[in-house]
């Protein structure tokens, strides 16, 4: 086996079960062809050393590829969707717990959180900005579709909660003292801001994508 074949085989092994592996290996094969078309090395050990010196070791290259495919659009989408869902489920459980049970710690948590609604709203806006930023940074121009889809999935619990609250499918007194008209208007206003904030985050992230 010559140095080129040996290197490509090592790379193949280091990559393991990798998407589009054959195409990746063919690119390195062409690269090696170009190198040895320019320089002539008879000794196979010396040739292998030259390859590693110029390209890096198969393990180093495989590591770079692993990093490159670690973040996929689907994974990114589900991280944000799951996080958003956890916020809603957590908030829902807290509300139900506060209203149905007489537990001190739940009373304490509820009172602390309802005392700082504006801080919670701000943190939630940061979450949406971060969503856009991460998508823009990782996926660049291609991220715009992903942002739109992730936004639509993430916004579903917000819309659902708004509807069950407005149509009083859950007791409105559960959300006291929050459920005042000004607070509802603020929530509607900030919900309308979520997409522009994500979009700004996306544009900012896109700048950092190169």
């Amino acid at each position: 086996m010559n140095a080129e074949q040996h290197f490509l085989e090592q790379l193949d092994q280091s990559l393991g079960p990798f998407p589009n592996k054959q195409e990746i290996i063919s690119e390195y094969e062409i690269h090696l062809y170009e190198i040895f078309n320019e320089i002539e090395i008879q000794d196979e050990t010396e040739a292998y050393e030259t390859i590693e010196k110029r390209l890096g070791t198969p393990k180093e290259i495989a590591k770079m590829w692993m990093q490159e495919v670690r973040i996929t659009p689907k994974k990114t989408q589900w991280i944000f969707v799951t996080f958003n869902l956890c916020l809603f489920v957590g908030g829902g459980l807290l509300t139900v717990g506060y209203n149905l049970f007489d537990w001190n710690w739940i009373d304490f948590t509820w009172r602390q959180l309802t005392a700082i609604p504006s801080i919670i709203i701000m943190l939630y806006l940061v979450f949406w900005g971060l969503l856009g930023y991460e998508i823009g940074k990782e996926f660049g121009h291609r991220g715009r579709k992903l942002l739109r889809n992730t936004f639509l999935i993430c916004i579903a619990p917000n819309v659902l909660l708004a509807n069950v609250t407005v149509f009083q499918l859950i007791p409105s007194q559960w959300f006291q003292p929050l459920l005042s008209v000004p607070f509802i208007l603020v929530c509607i206003g900030f919900t309308a801001l979520l997409y522009p904030i994500s979009w700004m985050g996306y544009q900012w992230g896109k700048k950092a994508s190169v």
Binding site: E27, I30, H31, G56, I61, Q67, G140, H141, K207, V210
Partner: protein, 110 residues
């Protein structure tokens, strides 16, 4: 030779810049970077392909295969409109950065 992290951080920008001149294949990009920098800008050639893959994933470049009369087919890369636009943005940011750094360093020297 420059700091490895600095080189790594500038590779994508240089790739986009080179591709504004003509479509190129991987090995050609490495050679161009090496020649134009008087051998000062040397990247581990194996790391170029993940960087190209990322740019392609971001839709800043696109690729196509071209058969050769001698040797295997080559995978050529070309810049997209979005790639050109991000390059313009990053280039002007780079110039501003260099300008500010130069003036700060000169101020410290005097």
């Amino acid at each position: 030779m420059f700091n490895r992290e600095l080189v790594k951080g500038s590779t994508s920008l240089l790739v986009l810049q080179l591709l504004t001149e003509r479509d190129m294949y991987g090995y050609e990009l490495v050679k161009e970077m090496d020649n134009r920098s008087d051998h000062n800008f040397q990247i581990k050639e194996g790391t170029l392909y993940p960087a190209l893959h990322k740019l392609e994933k971001q839709e800043y470049i696109e690729c196509y295969w071209e058969k050769q009369t001698k040797g295997p087919a080559r995978k050529y890369y070309r810049i997209t409109t979005e790639g050109q636009s991000i390059l313009d943005e990053k280039t002007s940011e780079w110039y501003r950065y260099v300008q500010v750094m130069n003036s700060l360093i000169r101020r410290n020297e005097s």
